[in-house]
Symmetry: C2
Subunit: 205 residues, 2 copies
DNA sequence: CCGGGTCCTGGACACTTGTCAAGATTTTCC
DNA sequence: GGAAAATCTTGACAAGTGTCCAGGACCCGG
């Protein structure tokens, strides 16, 4: 019987969840390397100490594995982003911290971000991924909105745009910087920094 | 011998080019419907009056066909976008025309735009598509910059951002609107309109 | 030590994929 | 009209895909 539906002792459940996480992390490495279109279950298993059959022991099918990966990616992503807005007391300080933080996460894991945009595009075709992708998108939007709201408070003003519009613009800057960074542009990260720093004042008062 | 490398009369070359265009258009329909990851040459041929073998008569391999499609997509895309900035004499008129125009093109061919973002994501993994995608991106950036510069002139000011940053923000708004539009959001188009109209003033003076 | 449940392997399956080539068909041109 | 060149079809090939399953290996309580 599939372990996900069997009843077992708590330690057993934990062990199963640990292995699922381990396999999903290996899958994320492969996906980040090759992209969704070129990643097969056997290739994923090669980045693993196990055989390809095991993937179907812990995941019902490929979409369940990918969905699990997307969900897991969210925690990684959110953890990286958090602590970006912490402890800034001036508007300019927050603006530079925002740009520096986004540039740092981009420089730290460009392949994971590349995968994110790949999977987000896939979610437009495969509705199985739509819900999870939308949830991650929503949490990223919330995160960016906290920055915008914090900036407005420090500047003594109010935001003049919606949360979704603010996220869309930051995301556009980030995505373009990722493209240029992957293409070898030396100024991509700096442009992202200044782009974000200059964007925040445009969104308030 | 492959028709692309043979010497022939002009009418022959035109006929070959016409058929290549015809096949590429059918491929674009299929790609827009299924996405890059799920589109095969046989599926493309099914959207055609011909058999799957013919694709290899007119295109060396799959990437050459996709590349041709991307190039062809550019002309379609640019043609749709052009005439967006034409004949507006006031800043507010241009701003609303910009938002209305982008919303109209989104509503007119959402599946083609979905394909564009899919292929742009693919270009991060498959370097064969990188060059053509970057070229299209550049022409779209030029187009948006003409709008921003025109707006600044009508308003008697100067743009306060780089062309690439301006394009990134508009593209972010457009991409988010596409996602929400495809997900069934009723306000996506209106949000895109107001988002663009409000963005232009933020980018000048 | 052993029996039963858990974990994992390896191979098989039905199918799809890109690619190719041999031959049929159509067009072109003298 | 007939040969030559083009266009197109058909079937095949090898490789790769997701999925499934029979069975081996392992572990742990009795």
């Amino acid at each position: 019987m599939s372990p996900s539906t069997s009843t077992r002792a708590r330690s057993g459940v934990d062990k199963v969840e640990d292995r699922r996480r381990e396999l999903a992390d290996a899958a994320l490495v492969t996906l980040a390397d090759l992209g969704y279109a070129r990643t097969s279950l056997r290739t994923i298993a090669e980045n693993t100490a196990f055989s390809h059959g095991l993937l179907h022991y812990y995941f019902a099918d490929k979409t369940e594995l990918i969905t699990y990966c997307v969900r897991r990616f969210k925690t990684t992503c959110a953890a990286q982003y958090e602590g970006l807005v912490a402890g800034e007391s001036t508007p300019d300080g927050l603006a530079t911290a925002c740009g520096d933080g986004l540039a740092a996460t981009l420089a730290d894991a460009p392949l994971l971000h590349r995968l994110w945009y790949d999977l987000r595009a896939q979610s437009m075709f495969e509705q199985a991924y739509r819900e999870d992708v939308a949830e991650i998108d929503g949490s990223l939007q919330d995160m960016m909105w906290r920055v915008v709201r914090g900036y407005a408070e420090l500047a003594g003003t109010e935001p003049t745009c919606t949360p979704s519009a603010a996220y869309a613009m930051f995301d556009g800057l980030f995505q373009q910087a990722l493209h240029r960074h992957l293409a070898g542009s030396a100024t991509a990260l700096d442009d992202l920094r200044t782009g974000c720093r200059e964007l925040l004042p445009r969104l308030v008062s």
